[in-house]
Symmetry: C2
Subunit: 459 residues, 2 copies
């Protein structure tokens, strides 16, 4: 909104080279709004803007830019400017950028950082992707249990500038092991002379550096904290994760799941920022794989060619039957993928889900089967359209529907469990993937039922 | 985890009627963990537990229970117990519960509240569902601009107990209009004698009470704040929304979108908590509607029955072709639904998206068409299987694929825009819904192309 409104003014100032006015206008904004303004500029203009912004403002603004604009700016800004910006970025946001860049560029950039920041960046990049270690920031305030409240608040004042948040501070022993976390509000409300060790706060909740993003989101959802400490297995405090970053992670995870469910690779960028080639690669890849799988339907149909020749009426219901299997599979897979992601259902509960889905699949199949039966039997001029044996045909369609819907439901609900068991992402069980699996089997079910029921009558 | 581990101990204490021991064990836990323990109990046991918990502990624990357990407890607890629990609940969590219950129960419960809480509950319930007004809590700390920092901190101490958070406090004028928000940390780090009005903090960001949940999530994602004030159009401060609630809202919105995308109604509860009847209703409803739509394929096939009779080979490729349309539509719709939800793409950009998707659809169609063509032409014994005109058949299949994939891509990408334009949820454009739309058209495209190309040869 803001971006599109003010962009003309901004461009005017850039073209007129009114650097002082530009800096003045821009520093009036909050970092997220400034980022939104710059986001709508050409990358060359954005680079100019970054050159004139004060050092800390530049770093903070850069943090709020979309990843894709950040990577393009990295290519455009000179090394000196880049160092200025990267040195001032919050380490967690910087890690996200560095992991996105090609390995070579990352190494070059890390080398340009100041020695302190270089150490931090290398440490964070040492953790596996999509873990708490990658998402945390080492910028937090620590206090000691033997401090008084007054001393602790003094310590916070000193460390505040270099911290992502001071809403929560961390009590550590002399070896850096995490003992507790305390809200600033607890300190402010406490007696000034009280000892930190004696302050009562909530129970300590901490995250292991190796926890996955999904686990991090689940812990934050459960405990409603604004920040949580990250430790190694020995309890050494390594960093903190703040809830605003969790909000972003949660949104990204959902985006990925939704895109995968639709049968594409995750786009990893806003729709309009994905290049045409990338879009074709991410959609075409899966589409081609699914197409190859779907070719089995032609082979299956070929197998039943003689039945179709003798009773073309059978072919009429092929799309109806296979799509019903695909739809029920798509329903089941989307429900299970989400239930697994939210931990509503655990991997070990697969057999409980299976029993339930057998009942659901049979019931849904029976409903569709009944509708299908009535559709054929009550159709005007059914004898002309479907021949004298229309009741038997309707029966074959109805029974096939029960089988196909049951099979679709079971495939759709169990595949996410299987994928999770194989340590793959359950969301890979996309709606089109399940539909493809179900289509071939659906054909086999349909023609087998029809052959059995119509032998000697039509076939 | 915790719940299943400790549940036996808990049950033992309940059966032995060891109320004091039980209370002692339970109060040792943090509210989220206590809720997890109780969540795994039978509702009768849970009600017993609530009877023995201290008043404020009971209220806080109740807040962390899943909505479904809350509503069942409402039916089980006596009015006196309920009043105790509801009075102590945070108003925003209470609103979520009250809006879930049948209107009659809600009215009865609101009547049992203390006069203060009754006023609050009625006010919050006055806002439309899924808006900031429903999600906010009126429990926050206000300070006045003319206060000194010391006075402000004193005021915070006084109001702290009745506030959801004191990490951020709100500066209002004498008529309750919102002037600014200040982080507690800003106050703590400021000179004790400084005036509140002179403290520099971030820009004021506020939310209108009528903003939708989706808008609230977008603002929090953009500004990275832990709490934001909610005002009416005149700037009167009405309440605040805290980020932990936004995390829940965001997760719910994603769950709904994923379930709808799969072609079910949103389940609105964890998988295992949905009753069998409810599950059938939420899945069977859409499945039946889609089935009725899909019946048109049988009508379309019937229309081309004579072509199939003359060239059964045409029927072989029906599943392959319609599923390719469905898959490309499913990809496009999931990508657009998410892009619209994240505001990566605005409603007004539909024509830009359309132009892009035409190119994407043609390219993807060409890729599948090429694979399909080669599959038929290079198949072993193609003349026996497909007859002497296999090249023409391959050509018809390839050209149909381009048309069907293009149509699928365009339907899938434009339908979410159309639904948003009609003020419906774009996520209603589920993968199965798009597939159903595309199937019928896909058949028409395929048989039209085949008729045109094979007339005089096969037909």
């Amino acid at each position: 909104m803001l971006g599109t409104l003010l962009k003309p003014d901004l461009e005017e100032l850039i073209h007129a080279k009114e650097w002082d006015a530009l800096r003045e206008v821009l520093t009036e904004f909050d970092a997220p709004d400034r980022a939104e303004l710059i986001e709508h500029c050409e990358v060359q203009e954005a680079a100019l803007v970054f050159r004139i912004l004060p050092r800390d403002t530049a770093g903070e603004t850069f943090e709020y830019l979309p990843l894709e604009m950040q990577t393009r700016l990295v290519e455009t800004l000179g090394d000196e400017q880049l160092k200025r910006v990267l040195d001032e970025m919050a380490p967690d946001d910087r890690t996200r950028l560095l992991e996105e860049l090609p390995g070579e560029v990352t190494r070059r950039l890390v080398a340009t950082l100041s020695p302190d920041q270089r150490k931090i960046a290398s440490a964070l990049l040492g953790y596996p992707e999509r873990t708490a270690g990658r998402a945390m920031t080492p910028e937090y305030v620590t206090i000691r249990p033997e401090m008084s409240v007054t001393e602790a608040i003094e310590q916070i004042r000193v460390q505040a500038k270099n911290s992502e948040t001071i809403s929560v501070v961390y009590v550590v022993d002399q070896r850096g092991r995490l003992l507790d976390d305390l809200r600033l509000s607890t300190l402010v409300l406490a007696e000034p002379g009280a000892k930190v060790a004696d302050l009562e706060d909530r129970q300590l909740v901490s995250i292991l550096a190796t926890a996955t993003n999904e686990e991090v989101v689940a812990i934050f959802e459960k405990y409603d904290r604004v920040a949580l400490p990250v430790t190694d297995t020995r309890g050494q405090l390594l960093g903190i994760i703040t809830i605003d970053d969790v909000l972003d992670v949660q949104s990204e995870e959902a985006t990925e799941d939704i895109q995968k469910l639709g049968g594409t690779e995750a786009l990893d960028a806003p729709y309009l920022d994905v290049t045409f080639g990338e879009m074709i690669r991410k959609r075409g890849g899966w589409l081609a794989v699914l197409f190859l799988g779907e070719m089995l339907t032609a082979t299956a149909m070929q197998y039943y060619e003689h039945q179709i020749e003798r009773a073309v009426v059978l072919a009429l219901f092929v799309p109806l039957i296979i799509s019903s299997g695909g739809n029920s599979g798509s329903q089941a897979t989307s429900i299970m993928i989400r239930a697994l992601a939210l931990r509503d259902v655990e991997l070990g509960e697969w057999s409980r889900v299976l029993r339930r889905e057998v009942m659901v699949g049979l019931t849904l199949g029976a409903i569709l089967g009944a509708i299908g039966f009535l559709r054929i039997v009550l159709w005007p001029h059914h004898t002309t359209v479907y021949g004298p044996h229309f009741v038997m045909i309707a029966g074959a369609v109805a029974i096939s529907l029960v089988g196909v819907v049951l099979f679709g439901t079971l495939t759709g609900s169990m595949l996410p469990f299987l994928l999770r068991r194989l340590r793959l992402d359950p969301a890979t069980a996309s709606a089109p993937f399940v539909a493809t699996l179900v289509d071939v089997t659906g054909l086999v079910i349909y023609f087998s039922v029809a052959s059995a029921m119509l032998r000697g009558i039509l076939l």
